[in-house]
């Protein structure tokens, strides 16, 4: 392995650690309870045959071991806090620390969802303020914060469309979805009882207007469009698209995953979108947490408002805030309680810390960064679609394929260079896609290191493709066998399971 070009990372000693069950032994304790101040009960007597005997292989370990266990395994993760995380479509931006602090304030973190409204005014104020901000940001008329993530928001939005069309007499049968769309879009349409009809992109990677015109008819409930789309391109014909739909009685859903390209610069409500979701865990900086939690508020135009999930936060006659459950046309509840409130707190903290000028600057920097990367790498990697990029840029591995190197290999080699890879093989319209979204959180220096690394890998592909195909070489585990994992799934630890040497 030649490391001469690697400027950003070095190998360093790192602790091994088995599974927590492998540390367990009977009698170790990580807890202590206060003395019981009421009479103890005999569980067998109280519960009868429902009483549980024992808790099987649950671990028994001390606090010190717990700290070490989770600290050690945490060091095996890459994270935003360590460096650039240019996963396209994921908007991995800085997760501000103040967000974490305010989300943990007593009074907010300890609030029971069913505590009376009059002692919940602070929490309601947060939801209301966030709602107001998001409405202006999107240019929409009404909003629900209930959905727990993007896909959940999509479902909510499509249910709104269904309910609205049904109230007009016919919910219709199909949803149009571009081939560049994220997998959650078609999966969502299916859950909502719609058939999915594929909409081809044109040569520029955009919605093909003639096709749309041809496919749009009285069976089509709406179109789920991502804008900018997953190629990072703004759908220039967006007004026309909306028109085509609206003319035939359809509605336009916008997947707002890419709002980081628009906040403060353009508003979906202004360009014809009827309903959309936001990913607070992307655009509004709530942390991804290794896969979640997220939050997927859904904003819509007036015509869809009656159908929003219940309850909604409203200002009551006496000026206090409260929940409105009396929504007869509502599509129903999509989640118990009020959504991922902790994420609402963080997103609002992000908005307040930025203000209108900070939000706009953020968007500008995100777009600037993507275009900078594009400019610097377009000689080294194939750019399948040449339209002007917004917040992300999608290359393909066509050049590198000649040496048998695929996007997934380049991604693994980036790890050796100290970076998290970009999004691999998505969107599907680009065979061998390298989807790069730097976000606004990267400095010019970090971008330059990334560009250097990508260029160095391009050279390696020419000179020593094996090096790239067998990457990563610097990690504590080498390339993991995903095929074997799926063939004979081992989804839990069992006592006596063999451990390989070195753990």
């Amino acid at each position: 392995m030649s490391d001469k070009d690697i400027k950003k990372a070095t190998r360093h000693v790192n602790q091994n650690e088995g599974l927590i069950f492998e540390r367990s032994s009977p009698g170790k304790k990580g807890y202590r309870l206060p003395p019981l101040d009421v009479p103890a009960v005999d569980a067998k007597k109280v519960l009868g045959s429902a009483a549980r005997e024992d808790l099987g292989n649950m671990p028994e370990v001390s606090e010190m071991e717990i700290i070490r266990h989770f600290t050690r395994i945490s060091t095996w993760n890459y994270a935003i806090d360590l460096g650039m995380y240019p996963l396209g479509s994921c908007t991995m931006k800085y997760n501000a620390r103040v967000n974490e602090v305010v989300a943990r304030l007593g009074g907010l973190a300890d609030a029971h969802p069913y505590q009376p409204e009059r002692i919940s005014q602070g929490a309601l104020r947060i939801m209301k303020t966030l709602s107001d901000c998001l409405l202006d940001i999107t240019g929409m008329d009404a909003i629900t914060l209930q959905p727990a993530a993007g896909a959940h928001g999509e479902m909510t939005g499509i249910l709104l469309i269904h309910a609205c069309l049904k109230s007009r007499g016919n919910p219709r049968k199909k949803i149009l979805i571009p081939d560049s769309a994220h997998g959650t879009n078609p999966a969502t349409a299916a859950i909502c009882g719609y058939a999915v009809e594929n909409l081809k992109s044109n040569a520029q990677g955009m919605v093909d207007i003639p096709s749309l015109e041809a496919q749009m008819n009285e069976d089509v409930a709406g179109l789920m469009l991502t804008n900018p789309n997953t190629l990072g391109l703004f759908e220039r014909d967006i007004a026309k698209i909306a028109d085509i739909l609206h003319k035939k009685g359809g509605l336009l859903y916008m997947d707002g995953a890419n709002m980081n390209a628009l906040v403060g610069k353009a508003r979906p409500g202004d360009f014809g979108v009827d309903v959309m979701h936001l990913n607070l865990h992307k655009t509004f900086s709530t942390p991804h947490g290794g896969g979640g939690p997220g939050s997927g508020p859904v904003a819509c135009k007036k015509i869809l408002e009656p159908f929003l999930p219940m309850p909604l936060v409203v200002q009551k006659a006496d000026g206090t805030l409260g929940f409105d459950y009396n929504r007869p046309q509502s599509v129903g509840r999509v989640r118990m309680f009020y959504g991922n409130f902790g994420m609402h707190v963080r997103a609002l903290a992000y908005i307040l810390a930025n203000g209108f000028d900070g939000l706009r600057q953020t968007t500008e920097d995100a777009v600037l960064n993507a275009n900078y990367i594009r400019k610097k790498l377009e000689g080294d990697y194939e750019l399948p679609y040449k339209g002007q990029s917004m917040h992300e840029v999608v290359f393909s591995d066509r050049i590198q394929q000649h040496k048998g190197v695929k996007t997934g290999d380049i991604a693994k080699r980036l790890i050796d260079y100290g970076f998290h890879p970009y999004t691999v093989s998505f969107p599907l319209v680009v065979p061998g896609a390298l989807m790069i979204e730097p976000t606004e959180s990267e400095s010019m220096e970090e971008l330059n290191l990334f560009i250097d690394a990508m260029q160095a890998i391009a050279r390696e592909v020419e000179q020593d493709p094996e090096l790239v195909k067998t990457a990563p070489h610097s990690t504590r585990v080498s390339r993991l066998d995903e095929t074997a994992a799926a063939r004979k799934p081992v989804l839990r630890w069992k006592p006596g399971a063999a451990v390989s040497a070195g753990e």
């Binding site: 990580g30 569980a43 994921c90 993530a149 979640g292 000028d357 066998d481 989804l491 390989s500």
Partner: protein
């Protein structure tokens, strides 16, 4: 803006290298008429101290340090400080979904441990990496039952959390998947006779909850017997996960849909929490959500990866088992740390403390009011029926800095002035006595 790592000179240089004059050149793809020409109508940029002050003010107009007797799907338990200390490591909370396993073994191993512990506690064979919460989890479990059986309807007990039932209705409304409800008997348990009638040849799944919404523990084995005899699957929801420290796991179920909030997750005005689905190994290819599996690297070293992703939306699109993508990974990690701290003995001891508190409280309440459903065992919740209106009682309690039980009238009008009370290890005897006193006034 203090989060942005660029100087004005950096921006100028980058624009130059791109070949643009102004930043607005980069926004040229957006038709001019749709470009926003004004500032957003959001508050001005605040200093960090101002942001904190804003939320402090909000927190101050919320309840704090009240005695809480609410459960009903969200439980107040002590949260060991180790949890937040560990999940606050940037390596955990600022990582994405572990798509690149070689630099995500921390998240993957933690979730693998989560899956294992959920299996141990529920008596199931496999568990997924998490769902949004138990309400969406139960809906997904029913849809999974439909896929597994090829049948197209379901029966849901009325003693399942009312909001879970609302969510199920929302999820299934356009799936040609009719949902029947099944009532409860005098002892607060599912009416087996009614259930027998409600299950048809088209019933894919029966959903119950245990401990159910009244806090009553169902006879899962008997229900499973009946359901299985009818060729349907049994889904058991668990909203109070801590019950598993004292209550026999629903091992006879086919799918368990559990809410993990009790395991170290803040009440947080209702979220984020973490649902999880667990099932039998043979059903794993129909489970929704992510799964972490064990594998080896090129040198034979153990490692973990996301697996069986052909079930998922990013591969299968409209044919996927679910549309879920982002889940509740960090919350599952919180639960994993919590389960590790208490562990084999602690969860039991803690559950028994809850049992003792609720037993004592129910005993005391029964001196002043009617405690319903005495005929069946319960965990840490119980229903108190009063002559006085539940909301009025609660208003009185509020003045004494106590948050009373959850009024049941909205969802169970047949119970009159009844409220669901919850007592955990955090309710001192003193608090309980004071609440009983106030209710009995």
């Amino acid at each position: 803006m203090r989060y942005l790592p660029k100087s004005p000179a950096d921006r100028q240089q980058m624009l130059r290298e791109i070949g643009c004059k102004t930043i607005d050149d980069l926004f040229e793809p957006i038709p001019a008429e749709y470009r926003l020409k004004r500032d957003l109508n959001v508050p001005r940029q605040m200093a960090e101290s101002e942001v904190i002050e804003f939320f402090h003010q909000c927190a101050a107009t919320n309840a704090a340090r009240y005695a809480v007797f609410l459960g009903a799907g969200a439980y107040h338990h002590y949260r060991p400080v180790v949890i937040d200390s560990l999940i606050s490591r940037g390596e955990f909370f600022t990582a994405y979904t572990p798509y690149q396993p070689e630099i995500a073994q921390g998240t993957l191993q933690a979730i693998f441990e989560f899956q294992t512990m959920i299996c141990e506690l529920t008596g199931m064979e496999v568990a997924n990496a998490s769902m949004y919460d138990a309400s969406t989890g139960t809906a997904e479990a029913i849809m999974m039952g439909v896929r597994l059986t090829g049948r197209n309807s379901a029966v849901v007990a009325r003693t399942v959390h009312p909001e879970y039932r609302e969510v199920i209705k929302t999820y299934t409304q356009h799936q040609a998947l009719p949902i029947a409800e099944c009532g409860y008997k005098e002892d607060g348990r599912l009416d087996l006779a009614e259930l027998e009638k409600k299950i048809t040849d088209d019933t894919a799944a029966v959903l119950i909850q245990s401990p159910n919404f009244f806090g009553t523990i169902e006879d899962v084995a008997a229900i499973a017997d009946l359901v299985h005899r009818k060729g349907a699957l049994l889904v058991v929801a668990i909203s109070e996960a801590l019950s598993l420290g004292a209550v026999r796991p629903p091992a006879e179920a086919d799918i368990v849909a559990m809410e993990s909030q009790s395991f170290g997750v803040p009440l947080g005005f209702g979220g984020p929490y973490a649902g999880v689905l667990a099932t039998k190994e043979k059903y794993v290819r129909q489970i929704p959500g992510r799964l972490v599996g064990e594998t080896r690297d090129r040198d034979g070293k153990r490692g973990f990866v996301l697996t069986l992703s052909t079930r998922e939306q990013h591969i299968r699109r409209e044919k996927a088992t679910s549309n879920i993508c982002t889940n509740q990974a960090l919350i599952a990690t919180m639960a994993t740390i919590y389960m590790t701290i208490y562990g084999r003995e602690g969860l039991k001891e803690l559950a028994h403390q809850n049992l003792a508190k609720a037993t004592y409280a129910a005993g005391e309440f029964s001196k002043k009011a009617k405690v319903l459903f005495g005929g069946a065992p319960r965990f840490n919740e119980f229903v108190v029926q009063t002559r006085e209106d539940s909301y009025e009682i609660n208003s009185r309690l509020l003045e004494k800095k106590m948050i009373g039980g959850f009024p049941l009238r909205k969802f169970y009008p047949e119970l009159g002035n009844a409220a669901l009370w919850c007592c955990t290890e955090l309710n001192s005897k003193e608090q309980i006595d004071a609440a009983v006193e106030a209710v009995g006034q």
